[in-house]
């Protein structure tokens, strides 16, 4: 392999990035290609992986791309990497922060009607939530949150109103 193909440069960049790499980061390093090219290159790479039966693929997350293992292999990987299990309370706190954040612990407690300290600690520990310094401290969802839930941005979350409509007339 003597010539360097932009496709493989993009692959190498996504491969060696810790977490998702932003598209604009890729474009900075490989300036001869366009944003559209990045997307079609990723599709091409995923096709190559599929055809050769690879256990991983590239997925879109947090305004960029990252490598993830295919679902089939999750049971084996779980024996190696501790899986993430979020309690109902932690998911609720995450939802409040995702929809109403940045917000303080008091704001979260108010919405849930109960103290959220331990869930908040868990979420900060798992780096799903970032802390904004100040008085009071405020919480906001992190880049890892987007990666974990496969979102490009918070705007991809379904509208809260939607839930009210569907479940409001129970």
């Amino acid at each position: 392999m003597n010539t360097i193909n932009p496709r493989e440069i993009i692959e190498a960049l996504i491969f060696s990035s810790d977490g998702a790499i932003a598209t604009k980061e890729i474009l900075k390093i490989v300036p001869e290609i366009s944003e559209m090219d990045v997307e079609s290159t990723v599709n091409e790479l995923n096709r190559i992986y599929d055809e050769s039966g690879r256990s991983f693929m590239i997925t879109k997350a947090s305004g960029g791309y990252m490598f993830v293992s295919k679902e089939t292999y999750a049971p084996y990987i779980k024996a190696l990497v501790p899986p993430l299990k979020l309690s109902g309370a932690s998911l609720e706190v995450l939802a409040v922060i995702a929809y109403k954040g940045p917000c303080s612990k008091q704001d979260i407690d108010m919405v849930r009607g109960v103290d959220s300290s331990s869930s908040l600690k868990t979420l900060v520990h798992h780096e799903l939530v970032d802390v904004i310094a100040g008085r009071p401290l405020k919480y906001t969802t992190s880049k890892k949150f987007l990666e974990v839930f496969g979102l490009n941005s918070l705007s991809e979350l379904p509208d809260l109103d939607q839930f009210e409509e569907v479940f409001g007339k129970a």
Partner: protein, 244 residues
């Protein structure tokens, strides 16, 4: 369905409630009511039964559940009064309005939480690539100006003259001149009085200057005890000599 019998067994079969709002929502939905019907007695009564049963079982209950219980009791009594007197309490404002809004918001969040959980979850269905290549960050090249600016920022913050000037500033000749001019005003000085910064290089320079002045018979050096102050005393008869 005005009331249900809440047995210990029933409690243990219930889902875990995240808080009083969660429990209220459960009861509202179980009774096929809407949030608007919060004040209805079956809901409030069942809430009380649940709380009492849990307390009988000595299961730890968050204080918020009890706060809600007393609020609901108040709500129940005030709505009974308003029905009986055919008059709305608080001049037409429904006392439960705020709680109903909280319940509606909480229900939205609870559903949002469930929908988050249904998304493809990293570290559950998929796993990210592990960290394998550690590329050490290179430090940006910089220059002395960065150091000088850092010193300026320390000074700015501490309002102190933080770093002493360097050794070569203390020229023995200059210090001799300084001692001389000080001796114009006073006859007797201690070595320490002369030192401005009290830094080691300055003390050494002063000591050397004092020895020089003594050698030139301009001052006498006196020390009362071994570790006591060293005094410089002007020799009057040689005053003219120095001024030359």
């Amino acid at each position: 369905m005005s009331s249900v019998y809440v047995s210990s067994e029933f409690i243990l079969r219930l889902p875990r409630f995240e808080g009083p709002l969660d429990l209220l929502l459960y009861l509202i939905e179980k009774n096929r009511f809407s949030i608007e019907e919060l004040e209805l007695c079956p809901i409030i009564d069942q809430y009380m039964e649940y709380i009492n049963a849990v307390r009988r079982l000595n299961i730890e209950l968050a204080a918020e559940f009890l706060d809600m219980a007393s609020y609901l009791l108040w709500l129940k009594s005030s709505s009974l009064i308003s029905i009986n007197s055919r008059e709305d309490t608080y001049e037409g404002i429904n006392p439960a309005t705020e709680l109903k809004e909280m319940l509606a918001t909480y229900r939205g969040i609870k559903m949002a939480a469930l929908s988050l959980n249904e998304r493809l979850l990293l570290f559950r269905d998929r796993f990210p690539k592990g960290k394998s290549q550690v590329v050490e960050k290179k430090i940006i090249k910089t220059d002395v100006m960065a150091i000088l600016k850092a010193i300026a920022s320390i000074k700015e913050r501490t309002k102190r003259y933080v770093l002493q000037v360097r050794k070569d500033k203390f020229n023995v000749r200059e210090v001799m001149g300084k001692i001389n001019s000080m001796l114009m005003k006073r006859k007797k000085l201690t070595l320490f009085e002369i030192a401005e910064t009290k830094s080691k290089p300055e003390i050494i320079a002063i000591f050397l200057a004092a020895l020089e002045l003594s050698k030139a018979s301009i001052v006498r050096l006196l020390q009362k005890s071994i570790n006591g102050n060293i005094y410089l005393v002007k020799r009057l008869e040689t005053e003219e000599k120095i001024q030359v």
